[in-house]
């Protein structure tokens, strides 16, 4: 019998519940059921990173997570990066550094970059590039993205110092 599953989960700090089919990915449910369309689909097979979310403290490609697996978990999407109306440092440096052109890969990059900066204060350029290798961008050539992550790291160090 094709019965939907009820999922209770925490998304961006809020308790959320929804019904879904096991075959639906977390990406699909975030976008089509919960209505958080900030997370994007670029390939649906884990290769482009546009669907990156935080899942229990790790960045994952949400296209390869089943939404039923979200039960009891903590998820952060791009919509949960800013703190109220205050942009996170990485969002600010992306804008100041012109680190986006079409912007469709930007949510994935911001979630991924924030995860790095939350755990490492002063990543090297090489480390940033390695960390972001699962996020594809076709518009920018990555240069300004990497520089914006470096700028955000520097600013966050200043604030914490």
């Amino acid at each position: 019998m094709q019965v939907k599953t009820r999922v209770e989960t925490t998304i961006n700090g809020e308790q959320v519940e929804f019904l879904c089919e096991p075959r639906q990915s977390l990406l699909e449910c975030l976008r089509d059921i919960v209505g958080l369309t900030g997370t994007k689909e670029g390939c649906n097979d884990g290769n482009c990173g546009a669907c990156t979310v935080m899942f229990d403290g790790r960045i994952v490609t949400s296209c390869l997570v089943l939404s039923v697996e979200a039960d009891g978990r903590e998820i952060t999407t791009i919509e949960g990066v800013a703190e109220g109306s205050a942009l996170h440092e990485i969002q600010k440096t992306f804008l100041e550094g012109a680190a986006l052109q079409c912007g469709v890969c930007t949510p994935g990059f911001i979630v991924a970059a924030k995860a790095l900066l939350d755990q490492e204060l002063n990543p090297s350029e090489e480390r940033i590039r390695l960390w972001l290798a699962n996020n594809l961008c076709r518009c920018t050539g990555y240069d300004k993205i990497i520089r914006s992550v470096q700028d955000a790291a520097a600013k966050m160090q200043e604030t914490n110092a």
Binding site: P22, R23, G49, L64, V68, E69, A133
Partner: protein, 290 residues
């Protein structure tokens, strides 16, 4: 994707009973291979059995006498995030760090890489080189299978319906031993190996005491090149011995030409990668960094 049911058992017994049932069940750990395949219509399944809730499959225990017990579902990031395992099993860290990218490593598991049984699997040559044994549970109890005996063909392995890979066991690294996995990919991350070489050597007085060499992407299964490792036994640790072993690895390879590489190019890479991996493994055996 067609409709599938989903179950998340919390014991090995439950999992086995679901896997042995009539819904053509498929195991789910990280999902980074399985979900892609199911969406492509490969594999006929009505039930996904999520094994991540089973304690034994999440075990990651480094025992100072027994060695490392690695649960089948432990994701890569946990493995390379563990300082003790980093120190003791750098070869395993090599593999866990290069499957996909950071997001994939947040989910993908070594056990899943093994059960997916791709000829190009990045973890399997290292499992073979380290002489890993695999604990498989079924309704009849458990059995141990050597890593090199798991894969039987592209995407095929010895697990029967109703069987579950529980964990893999790595013996304690011997003194003066070093392991290394190197693969060749056209980019620097994210790609499937065009060819890969996993080696594990133990040195004694300037000679190779033992050596195991296994290759990825150059045969229908990951390839244990027993003769290449045996050829090193008792040989001096120098370029000549390493070159001979690398040549044997190349000779044993039987790759195909496909979108990732030609036969000639892959065989050539076997020699190059085995040589480089052996040199790095020797460095590690001597306590140096690579």
């Amino acid at each position: 994707m067609r409709w599938v049911d989903y179950e998340s058992p919390s014991t090995v017994q439950e999992a086995i009973s679901l896997l042995g049932g009539d819904r053509k069940a498929k195991m789910l750990a990280g999902g980074t291979d399985v979900l892609v395949q199911l969406r492509a219509g490969r594999g006929d399944t009505n039930l996904i059995v999520d094994v991540k809730g089973i304690p034994e499959l999440n075990e990651m225990r480094l025992d100072p006498q027994q060695g490392l017990t690695l649960g089948a579902a432990v994701p890569c990031y946990k493995i390379y995030g563990d300082a003790e395992i980093q120190k003791a099993y750098p070869g395993l860290i090599d593999c866990a760090s290069l499957i996909g990218g950071i997001q994939i490593q947040g989910r993908a598991s070594i056990g899943g890489n093994l059960c997916n049984s791709a000829p190009s699997a990045d973890a399997i040559p290292m499992l073979i080189a380290c002489g890993v044994t695999c604990k498989i549970a079924s309704a009849d109890g458990t059995r141990e299978v050597a890593a090199e005996d798991i894969c039987t063909g592209p995407g095929q392995n010895v697990l029967r319906a109703g069987e579950l890979l529980v964990s893999m066991h790595f013996s304690l690294p011997k003194a003066n031993s070093g392991a290394r996995y190197i693969r060749f990919i056209p980019r620097n991350e994210m790609d499937i190996a065009v060819a890969g070489s996993g080696v594990n050597v133990t040195l004694e007085n300037g000679t190779f005491k033992t050596a195991r060499i296994a290759l990825a992407s150059v045969a229908p299964t990951p390839l244990f090149v027993r003769e290449a490792g045996e050829a090193l036994t008792g040989q001096p640790v120098n370029d000549e011995s390493i070159a001979k072993a690398a040549a044997l690895a190349k000779a044993a390879a039987s790759p195909i030409t496909d979108m990732r590489g030609t036969i000639e190019y892959r065989k050539h890479l076997c020699e190059v990668l085995t040589r480089r991996a052996l040199n790095d493994a020797v460095k590690r055996a001597r306590g140096e960094q690579v």
